[in-house]
Symmetry: C2
Subunit: 210 residues, 2 copies
C-alpha cells in the first residue's frame, strides 16, 4: 500500500506531536485529545486534527487518543521504530553542539563517528566520540550500516563533504551550513538554517511597529 503524499510541514509537526506524546507517556497519561495536543504545542486544533487524519482514525469521540497507540504510530511513520546510526563531519563548535544536543539519542539516533579533515583535530574527543580522519569514512559507513550523514563544516567545504558522503552510499544528509548543496536524484537533503528563524523575528517585530 502506498501512503498518501504527506506535506513536509505535516511531517515536521508530526515530530512535535511525537515528542509531546512521549512526554505524556512518561508521565503515564493514558489518553489525550487533539485539543490538548494543540494547546500543549500552540498549534491550531483544526490543523492537529487534519494532520492526524493523514494517519488513519485513531481517536474515540469524547475519550480522545490512546497516548501509547498514537505515540507508536507517530514513531512508526517517522521511521523511528528503528535505530539510526549517523556520522557527523566537522569537529568545530557546531559539531560539538550537535553531538551535545539533548534529544538526538532518545529518538533512536546515535552518532557513531565524527570526521574532520584537519589533522590537528584527529584523535580529539567530541561528545565521547573520537574524531577520525576522512579516509575512514567508507569503512565506518559500511560497518555501521549508516544511511544518514550530518554536515557541520565551514560553508566553503560543504559541497566537497556531501560529494564524499554520496560517493560512499549515504542516502540522507542533514546540512547545517548555509549552502545550497548540489546532490544527485535519490539523495535527500534537509537544510537546517540557524539564522532564518531570526529573520522571522525581525519580520514580526517590524510589523508590530507599523
Amino acid at each position: 500500500m502506498k501512503a498518501p503524499r504527506i506535506p513536509e510541514a505535516t511531517v515536521a509537526r508530526l515530530s512535535l506531536y511525537s515528542r509531546f506524546l512521549e512526554n505524556l507517556d512518561q508521565k503515564e497519561v493514558g489518553f489525550v485529545s487533539s485539543g490538548e495536543i494543540a494547546e500543549g504545542l500552540s498549534i491550531n486544533p483544526a490543523q492537529v486534527r487534519k494532520d492526524l487524519a493523514y494517519f488513519g482514525d485513531f481517536g474515540t469521540r469524547g475519550v480522545g487518543y490512546k497516548v501509547k497507540d498514537l505515540l507508536g504510530c507517530t514513531l512508526n511513520i517517522l521511521g523511528l521504530d528503528q535505530k539510526w546510526p549517523l556520522i557527523l563531519v566537522g569537529a568545530g563548535a557546531l559539531g560539538y553542539a550537535v553531538c551535545d544536543y539533548q534529544g538526538f539519542n532518545k529518538r533512536g539516533f546515535s552518532i557513531v563517528a565524527v570526521f574532520d579533515s584537519n589533522p590537528a583535530k584527529i584523535g580529539k574527543i567530541v561528545g565521547r566520540i573520537e574524531v577520525l580522519p576522512m579516509v575512514k569514512m567508507p569503512e565506518i559507513i559500511k560497518n555501521h550500516h549508516v544511511r544518514i550523514g550530518i554536515i557541520a563544516v565551514p560553508a566553503n567545504a560543504a559541497q566537497e563533504v556531501v560529494d564524499q558522503m554520496v560517493k560512499n552510499g549515504l542516502e540522507g544528509v542533514l546540512n547545517y551550513t548555509p549552502v545550497n548543496l548540489v546532490i544527485p536524484e535519490g539523495v535527500e537533503v534537509i537544510n537546517i538554517d540557524l539564522s532564518v528563524g531570526l529573520e522571522s523575528l525581525t519580520f514580526k517585530l517590524s510589523q508590530k511597529e507599523l
Copy 2:
C-alpha cells in the same frame, strides 16, 4: 495601511529569496525571473510567484524582476533595512557555534553580548565577545537598544533565562533549546530545533523502503 497577514512559511522562504537575490546582486546580475529564483532554490515556481505577489507587483513580463529593487523590498519586509543588536545567553558549544555562524553579520545582525551563569565562563572570549555575568543583562539591553535575545543554554535552564529576558524588555526570542517556552502575550518566540530535520529524513528514507 495594514499589510496582509503573511503565512510563516512564506516569511521563511522570503529569507531564502532575499539571500539568493543578495548573491545575484553581488555578481552584478540586473534582472531575474521567478523561474530562475525557483530553480536556484529548488522551490516550485508557482509558489515563488504566489509568495512574491504578497508584496505587490514588481515584475515586468518577459524581463522579470529588477534584482536590486526586489532585494531591497525583501529586506524591507523582513525588517533588515535596520541593524539588529542581539544578546546571546549560554557560552557552551551551541553558543560558540551560533557566534561563529556565517551569515548573521551580513544580514544586519550583531551579537553585542554573551552571558552565562557559570562564573568559570565569565571573561572567556566567544567569537570575539567577552562572556558577561547575567547581572549585566539589563544594562546591556538598555545601552544597545536590544530587542531580541538568543537562548543557547541547557534545556533545564531555558525557562529561567527567557523569564529574565522578558523582564528586561526583550520582545523576541530565538530559542535553540528543545523546550516549549512559556512567554507572555506580545513576546515572539521562534524555536530552532536541531533534530526535527533529522526526523524528516528518517521519514523519507522509511517511505523509500515501502
